[in-house]
């Protein structure tokens, strides 16, 4: 062999060594260095998970009456893998399905596209709640509809229809953005979550754990024999018992519906348990389950009356005279006035050239605290507002009572509202946002619940509850107990009061007396409504002026007097005088509440004392 040939063979051999070295290195890299990654990928590759929906927990009222239950419904699904491969046949089948479900081919296709983007190869739900006639038809003509499946799913059931809709909220499929939130970490597209109200706030309790069947599949997605790897049955959600009383709630809603837009709250003054929370106009939570028709969207989401807003919790209004307990308390506690010290009410006061007068132009003469509350003398409280105009005492007391801050309620929509202060207005003025700095007039307005004040019925109820219970600013809540499927109590909700404020028992009884006189002695502002009510109560009307609108009607009531157990706040948009609209609704609510107390105190299994 020549040297030249030997060199060539040596180069050839060297080339071979290099090639084999590359292969060995790459093999080592794939299997030894990155093996874990590929093994995980391979495992992921060969399994398909089928989720079996779990029913959500029931929502009960405080007596155990079902407010939200479940019923099974039939959902029409398309399994895209089993549709005909031929585009024409596929099109024909889909358009037939569209016709049967009162839809269009385009929207069926769009829905398939959207769902498949979220969960490739998963069955696409075409319509929930399909009628039996359609299911029978499809079953009889199965060979004409390959890939169409009927799935039994759980849907929310509302035995009382719209009752407490704002408290309960609705459920709907979790959205793509929601899935990125921590609270929805374990969910997958298509899972249902609470969209508002208790369904949203207690979603983690109510939400069940979907069952999981993990099966081994081959590359075509076909299950392999004996390839069932895991099977975990669905775990239903836990039940939630609310503090809401369905009867009281129904009474309030019936009253409210007669008057238009507004809201009401009934709350236990000691615990903060909400016995009734209503808002009008209302909506049907069942109709909020997607897909919504245009009509449903127009009636709910796009409705200018905003039926989805819970006005009891999130409605902000000036409160009118119902606010007067706050300047009363502030003035007494800060020594601005004594309970017996009279103020002469000649119908109006003039401060800085501006005249503030009583509603209706009345003059009550010399009035002290009790009388001023009974007749709702504005002048009396104008004077208190004037006396405290730059001391901040009124604002401090109001802030302690919960104005201008969140209530801590366990429902979405908790808001701060607005408590006007000297500093707030002066800062606005410095920024050029308003035409004038803080003046005595602002405080005079505030003392009667007018001007810039913005508060919700819930905030008013919390403030009155603090007066009623002697100083505890309670945490309002609707959630009472979590129970498992057998009714065993797993957890009770007893949130502690947010704050404790100092209220001199003497001052408290003076203010309560004024409120009692207002409701139940002749000459009181709501005597006409509550004069004959058998239970002694302490109630205050409110008539708030709103720019460009008829007056806002308010009523706040503590009952029974003098040791109140419950507080009720009612407000009606454009309802006029407090005694005209709000007080009658409060009466309905209290009647329902006390009827139940007297007849059904021992509960459904106890005998009635008669």
């Amino acid at each position: 062999m020549t040297n030249r040939l030997a060199l060539r063979i040596a180069v050839f051999g060297g080339f071979g060594v290099v090639l084999f070295a590359i292969l060995f290195f790459r093999l080592w890299q794939l299997q030894v260095l990155d093996g874990d990654t590929y093994l995980a990928e391979a495992k992921n590759n060969r399994t398909r998970e089928y989720r079996v929906g779990a029913p959500r927990g029931e929502i009960l009222d405080r007596d155990g009456e079902v407010l939200v239950g479940n019923r099974t419904s039939l959902a029409l699904q398309i399994n895209p893998r089993k549709l005909p491969a031929d585009p024409r046949e596929r099109r024909a089948e889909l358009s037939q399905l569209a016709e049967l479900t009162h839809s269009t081919l385009r929207s069926v296709r769009r829905r398939m596209r959207e769902e498949l983007k979220l969960a490739p190869a998963a069955p696409v739900t075409l319509r929930r709640d399909v009628g039996n006639y359609l299911v029978y038809y499809l079953q009889e003509n199965q060979e004409r509809f390959p890939g169409v499946e009927v799935q039994r799913v759980f849907v929310r059931d509302y035995p009382d229809e719209t009752l407490a809709a704002h408290v309960l909220g609705a459920v709907g499929e979790v959205s793509e953005e929601d899935l990125e939130e921590a609270r929805y970490r374990e969910l997958q597209p298509g899972d249902e979550v609470g969209q508002d109200g208790v369904e949203y706030a207690y979603d983690e309790i109510l939400r069940g754990k979907p069952g999981l069947t993990r099966i081994q599949v081959d590359a075509l997605g076909q299950p392999t024999p004996g390839g069932q790897l895991v099977s975990q049955p669905p775990a239903p959600g836990r039940s939630l018992k609310l503090s809401i009383d369905a009867d009281v709630q129904a009474a309030g809603e019936a009253g409210l519906a007669a008057y238009g837009s507004g809201g009401f709250v009934t709350m236990d003054v000691d615990t903060g348990e909400l016995i009734a929370v209503g808002s009008s106009p209302t909506f049907d939570p069942e109709l909020l389950t997607p897909p919504l028709t245009q009509k449903q969207v127009d009636e709910t989401i796009r409705n200018p009356a905003q039926p989805l807003v819970n006005r009891a919790v999130s409605g902000l209004y000036p409160t009118g005279s119902t606010f007067k307990i706050v300047p009363a308390l502030a003035a007494l506690e800060n020594g601005v006035i004594t309970p017996s010290e009279p103020i002469y009410d000649n119908g109006s006061i003039t401060v800085g050239g501006q005249r503030f007068q009583n509603a209706g132009g009345e003059a009550y003469g010399s009035v002290s605290m009790v009388r001023a509350l009974q007749v709702s003398s504005d002048v009396y409280f104008y004077e208190l507002g004037l006396d405290m105009w730059d001391s901040g005492d009124l604002q401090r007391t109001a802030h302690m009572l919960g104005f201008g801050r969140e209530t801590g309620i366990d429902l979405p929509g908790d808001i701060e509202g607005l408590l006007p202060t000297q500093r707030w207005r002066n800062e606005l003025y410095a920024e050029g946002e308003t035409d004038r700095p803080w003046s005595a007039g602002d405080n005079i307005q505030l003392a009667t619940g007018q001007g810039d004040l913005q508060a919700s019925p819930l905030q008013m109820a919390v403030a009155y509850a603090a007066l009623g219970n002697g100083g505890a600013v309670v945490t309002p809540h609707v959630g009472k107990e979590v129970t498992d499927a057998f009714g065993r109590v797993l957890k009770e909700f007893t949130p502690p009061p947010r704050r404790q404020i100092q209220i001199d028992p003497e001052y408290r009884s003076v203010i309560l007396e004024g409120l009692h006189d207002a409701a139940q002695t002749p000459g009181g502002t709501s005597y006409e409504i509550f004069g004959n009510f058998p239970v002694p109560v302490a109630g205050k009307t409110g008539t708030a002026q709103r720019i460009g609108q008829a007056d806002q009607s308010w009523y706040l009531i503590l009952a029974p007097y003098p040791d109140p157990k419950i507080v009720t706040a009612v407000t009606i948009e454009e309802g006029g005088f407090g005694a005209e609209a709000a007080a009658p609704i409060a009466l309905d609510i209290l009647e329902a509440y006390f009827n139940k107390q007297s007849t059904g105190a021992a509960g459904p299994n106890g005998g009635s004392p008669g």
């Binding site: 030249r4 060539r8 090639l19 084999f20 590359i22 292969l23 299997q31 093996g35 590759n45």
Partner: protein
């Protein structure tokens, strides 16, 4: 008596009374070469028996049975060629070359189409793919032409002549279309020319031409609207550069093969293998059998197979240096290149570093033509080895 016995006890250079091993020619064969070839074939049967059970309904051992038959036929053919003096093939070069070209051409007329390509004849026992045997035939014929034409014409004329001789059958195979095998033909041609002494400068020019041609085929031709490769071919050739680009097509196969091999880790997943058991990896008994080995037997198994191939190629290269004549040198060089190229491209394809070209893994991939042709090629190597050994001893085969 005693003196005779003493004489007989001495190791005799030539056995006067040849034993059975001597008669079979075993001492003159390359044992390591035979071992690696048979071991690879056995490993193939073993792998197929574990991984293809029940692939063909009603015939659980479909692939295994056939591969055993092909391997046994191949071993018999290998032995037969071992005992034939390969030098005769040099005299038959024109006949061999003609047969090569005609048999490949006949596929266009009589061949059956599979997946859009006509490559094989449907024979009673198995389908015969002329281009597989053609690899060996090309080596034998081209080596003969190189020896024959060594003194005719200028260097350039010779280079061009060899290229034309090699590329004509390559072009025929390419038109079937079978890109992978035509590339093997090209590799064989270059290897034979290389061992045959074609100047380095010529290779430089050829190399430049290949680069330019690749650019034209893959980039320029599609851009001007006259694609030379079919779309799927281009995609296969380029997808390995960016396998994640489209998990549904060519890159998908490669990703699945890579995942299969990687998931085998050091010791393999055995029967818990999923990638290659559940059809995620396509063509797992043919082009992607290495992925099966990687997943089932892990780095240990795959490295063992690669080592056997390294042994095979090393023995082939060693035979290049042992050959008694230039023809043997060229033939052995061509076969060595054929094996090396196929192993590298196929295993590289499984490992995701080479494009998908449809080249079988010699002796491992299921398929009669490939197994048989590879064993025959090894038989030719054995023949060269045996002639060299016999030549050293001054004796010739019968």
């Amino acid at each position: 008596m005693y003196a005779t016995r003493t004489r007989q006890a001495r190791p005799e250079p030539f056995a006067v009374h040849p034993g059975i091993a001597e008669r079979l020619g075993l001492p003159y064969m390359d044992g390591a070469l035979a071992f690696s070839a048979v071991a690879l074939a056995a490993f193939s049967v073993f792998t197929l028996s574990q991984s293809t059970l029940g692939d063909v309904p009603g015939s659980p051992n479909f692939f295994v049975d056939r591969q055993v038959v092909y391997s046994l036929l191949g071993i018999a053919g290998m032995y037969l060629l071992t005992r034939i003096d390969y030098s005769r093939f040099r005299e038959l070069r024109v006949g061999i070359y003609t047969f090569l070209c005609v048999s490949i051409s006949l596929v266009f007329v009589f061949g059956f189409a599979a997946r859009g390509s006509r490559r094989a004849f449907d024979l009673p026992l198995f389908s015969f793919q002329p281009s597989e045997l053609g690899k060996l035939l090309l080596v034998l014929a081209l080596a003969g032409f190189v020896i024959d034409g060594a003194r005719k014409g200028s260097d350039w004329q010779r280079t061009v002549r060899y290229l034309c001789l090699g590329l004509a059958p390559a072009a025929l195979v390419f038109l079937q279309p079978d890109l992978g095998t035509s590339l093997v033909f090209g590799a064989i041609t270059l290897a034979v020319m290389y061992v045959g002494g074609v100047r380095w400068t010529h290779f430089a020019v050829i190399g430049a031409a290949i680069v330019a041609l690749t650019a034209v085929v893959l980039v320029v031709a599609p851009a001007v609207g006259t694609p030379i490769l079919k779309a799927y071919q281009t995609e296969r050739l380029t997808s390995f550069l960016d396998p994640s680009g489209d998990p549904s097509d060519a890159g998908y196969q490669q990703n699945q093969a890579k995942t299969a091999i990687g998931s085998g880790e050091a010791t393999g997943r055995g029967d818990r293998a999923t990638q290659t058991r559940l059809d995620f990896v396509p063509e797992r008994h043919t082009d992607f059998i290495f992925a099966v080995i990687g997943e089932r037997y892990g780095f240990i198994g795959a490295a063992l197979v690669l080592s056997l191939y390294a042994l095979l190629v090393w023995r082939a290269l060693r035979i290049v240096t042992l050959s008694k004549n230039s023809y043997g040198t060229l033939v052995a060089g061509g076969i060595a290149a054929m094996l090396l190229f196929q192993v590298f491209v196929n295993v590289g394809m499984n490992l995701g570093i080479m494009p998908i070209t449809g080249i079988p893994l010699p002796l491992m991939s299921y398929g009669g033509s490939s197994v048989l042709a590879t064993f025959l090629a090894i038989g030719v190597l054995q023949s060269i080895h045996m002639q060299a050994r016999l030549g050293q001893k001054g004796r010739f085969a019968w």
